[in-house]
């Protein structure tokens, strides 16, 4: 079980190239880059509020490459919440989430309802011809696993902040929020992702 500390730890998983780093960088730094630099393991910090106190959100951006499998179990056991990313342009990337979900279930216990997990279909800005996974298919998979779902685009900054806010909203054991001091409630775009 994760130790009690001031940190709220979110871990981002998914296959190589689906846009995990892009989502995290868009959220933390507000930037996006076209070039692809594979990740081994990076972390980021953001100040958030937790039970009306200031605390830090620590985001671990993991590798999607099969070259570096080692740290996965450690990050899962230390993590409080998880984002599972696939690319809507790759059915294979959705498939690759299955074993990761199994390990989370194994390490966090069969009842995952207390643990915030988001299934995220990224690159929803891509044209319809490139799409391999429809929104409803994504939704169905999330429902089967009993977790939440959202489509995002790191490129167009669609639903990125909302993704993290929704995730924190799922935390029931404490009141975590992106807004420090101010009011919560950023509106989540539930409408279909526009094509760019």
């Amino acid at each position: 079980m994760p130790e009690q500390s001031n940190d709220y730890r979110v871990v981002v998983f998914g296959a190589g190239g689906v846009g995990k780093s892009s989502l995290v960088l868009r959220f933390v730094k507000g930037t996006f880059r076209e070039s692809y630099i594979p990740t081994i393991e990076d972390t980021y910090r953001q100040v958030i509020s937790c039970n009306k106190n200031i605390c830090t959100l620590q985001i671990t951006d993991t590798t999607g490459s099969h070259q570096f499998p080692a740290m996965q179990r450690l990050s899962i056991s230390k993590g409080h919440a998880f984002i599972l990313v696939y690319s809507v342009c790759s059915r294979q990337s959705l498939e690759e989430l299955k074993p990761i979900f199994e390990v989370i279930k194994e390490l966090k216990g069969p009842d995952l309802s207390q643990i915030p997990i988001m299934l995220t279909g990224n690159k929803c800005d891509e044209s319809a011809e490139l799409r391999e996974v429809s929104t409803s298919e994504g939704q169905a998979q999330a429902a089967e696993w009993g977790i939440s779902f959202m489509e995002t685009s790191a490129k167009t900054n669609h639903n990125v902040k909302q993704l993290f806010q929704e995730l924190l909203n799922l935390e029931k054991s404490r009141n975590v929020s992106l807004n420090v001091g101010g009011k919560t409630n950023s509106r989540v775009a539930k409408d279909k992702c526009e094509l760019m």
Partner: protein
């Protein structure tokens, strides 16, 4: 009487040599021996020192080898080089230490004589300090391709012979650093081709052809071997464990870390977020800094790369330094920080704890077994260290642009063992158990000495003499007197004045004096390098102890739990046995 005639014979030999140099008109910068100088040379010979001058300046200083160190064969050479310009020393070496006469003249005696005389070996081992490889090659190339239109054929042949013999000795002495150097490899290829052509022309260089053939086949074998091991990956684990090959399950330590191998490591920010980088081992601190800053999106002009040690000490890493991850202290971490915010860098919480060792209780393992596997392990690490790394380390690896990773790993192991001893003892609350473990460590030191593992032996004894251990008087009092005696004996064996010999040689002596290389110092460094070479050349043959828990012992000793923060260790020690007031 014999001594005098020998002396004058040497003087004649020398004069003849000087005369041949005058003949070489196209090299007009060479020595011109006028009558006055020549007489001076002879006079100096009487005074045991020969000074060779060029344009009124000393270029080579020789000293007569004193007869009390005389060996059977060393009488062949009466002079040893004390100082000189790099070019002059090379020239002297080629002309006096390498056989220009071919199969008829020199023969085995010459080879035996050179084996006894360290000048060639000293030069080969240390030339990179005063004559970088590309310059050495230039000189050799000049010497080999001497213009022979107006030269005696024998003289031309002698030059070629000497260069080939030199190259042969060079390659067999230095091995892989020569083959790793692109310029050197190109030179070898060209030389081999030139020699092939020369054989047709001169029909007299057969012996040299076979030496060169040997060199080239070594080169080919090396190149094949390198290809097979290309793209090795190493990792510096995040919790202070030793550097290891990335590919899991590979339990052989006998893998040399090469400059182009990748190493995976973390770079931290002041807020303890980090990025994981994968870069070649020979990456400069500056590049690491730039890559990390880009990944961490730090937009600051003046950044520093810093090691933060487990005691909070910050060491700023110079931009041109290389081998950064391998040279960290045991529980140290690399940070990147704006220049003005250095004060904000603090230890990670995991740095305040012990490094993550492999689970195991030292008391579970047989002492002899521990010593045995430690010796095998250390031996493999030692085997990977090239003599050159010692030079890079002493003079600063950034001067050479070369990594010291294998030496770093070996030195790190020494510290790991040392602090492991202190950590283990300071972690035991019960007095009687502590006495038992103290005893075990003394026994372990004894076994390591028996196995001739001086590295571990010294590390353990130094660990036991650490103040956090030595101040535990209740514990020492309960130790059987036999063990206390043994320990006192061990402690006296470690004479701190003999430590870091190479380093003191380098600091205490100037590398060059009045533009001349201080070759005496090179000789001293070469002695240390030869010791390394000698040790490595031996085979480690030990009888394995009866295997009880081989796998467990092996993995336990490969990754020890260590606190390397002296303040914490002393604090723990004081808690165990508070100071009596």
């Amino acid at each position: 009487m014999a001594e005098v005639s020998q002396l004058s014979q040497d003087a004649r030999e020398f004069a003849v040599r000087a005369a041949t140099i005058v003949l070489r008109e196209n090299n007009c910068h060479f020595l011109r021996v006028d009558k006055e100088n020549f007489n001076r040379i002879l006079r100096d010979v009487e005074a045991n020192t020969v000074r060779l001058k060029e344009h009124g300046k000393d270029v080579l200083i020789l000293e007569k080898i004193t007869s009390n160190t005389k060996q059977v064969f060393s009488s062949h050479f009466k002079y040893t080089v004390m100082a000189g310009t790099p070019q002059k020393m090379l020239e002297h070496l080629l002309e006096t230490r390498l056989d220009g006469r071919g199969a008829m003249g020199g023969g085995d005696n010459f080879i035996i004589a050179t084996a006894q005389d360290p000048f060639l070996d000293d030069f080969l081992l240390t030339h990179i300090v005063f004559l970088p490889t590309h310059q050495l090659i230039e000189e050799l190339d000049k010497y080999y391709n001497i213009d022979f239109s107006n030269q005696d054929k024998e003289f031309v042949l002698a030059c070629k012979r000497r260069v080939i013999q030199f190259v042969y000795r060079w390659v067999t002495t230095i091995r892989h650093p020569v083959f790793e150097d692109d310029i050197a490899v190109e030179f070898l290829e060209d030389l081999a081709t030139a020699l092939e052509n020369d054989i047709m022309q001169f029909d007299a260089l057969q012996e040299e052809a076979s030496l060169m053939h040997h060199v080239m086949s070594q080169l080919r074998r090396y190149q094949e071997d390198r290809k097979a091991h290309e793209g090795q990956k190493w990792k510096l684990p995040p919790s202070g464990q030793p550097i290891s090959l990335f590919s899991a399950g590979n339990d052989t330590n006998r893998t040399i870390i090469m400059p182009q191998d990748d190493i995976i490591f973390r770079v931290y920010c002041a807020d303890h977020t980090y990025c994981t980088l994968r870069l070649p081992v020979d990456t400069t601190a500056e590049t690491i800094k730039i890559v990390a800053a880009d990944k961490l999106k730090i937009r600051e002009d003046e950044l520093l790369l810093v090691e933060v040690k487990s005691n909070g000490e910050r060491v700023v890493l110079k931009d041109n330094d290389i081998s950064i991850p391998t040279a960290l202290s045991i529980n140290g971490r690399i940070f990147v920080s704006p220049k003005d915010h250095l004060d904000a860098l603090t230890c990670l919480s995991e740095q305040e704890e012990a490094t993550q060792g492999i689970e195991g209780d030292i008391e579970m393992f047989g002492t002899k077994e521990l010593a045995y596997y430690m010796t095998l392990f250390d031996w493999d690490l030692f085997w990977c260290v090239h003599e050159y790394e010692l030079l890079y380390h002493t003079f600063g690896r950034h001067h050479f642009g070369q990594i010291t990773a294998n030496l770093d790993v070996f030195l790190r192991r020494f510290n790991e063992i040392q602090f492991w001893v202190v950590t283990e003892i300071c972690m035991i609350g019960s007095l009687s158990k502590r006495v038992g473990v103290l005893r075990k460590f003394i026994k372990l030191a004894a076994y390591c000495r028996e196995y001739q593992n001086l590295n571990a032996f010294c590390a353990i004894v130094m660990g036991l003499s650490n103040v956090a251990v030595s101040r535990l008087s209740n514990t020492w009092d309960k130790l059987p007197s036999k063990f206390r005696k043994l320990y006192t004996e061990f402690e006296s064996m470690i004479d701190p004045s003999r430590n870091h010999r190479a380093y003191r040689v380098s600091v205490g002596n100037k590398t060059s004096l009045d533009g001349l290389v201080n070759f005496e110092k090179m000789h001293m460094l070469a002695q240390t390098m030869r010791t390394i070479r000698f040790c490595r050349s031996r085979h480690l043959v030990l009888d394995p102890p009866s295997p009880k828990s081989e796998g467990e012992v092996k993995s336990y000793i490969s990754c020890l739990r260590v606190i390397d923060n002296q303040r914490i260790l002393t604090g723990m020690s004081q808690k165990l046995e508070p100071r009596r007031s």
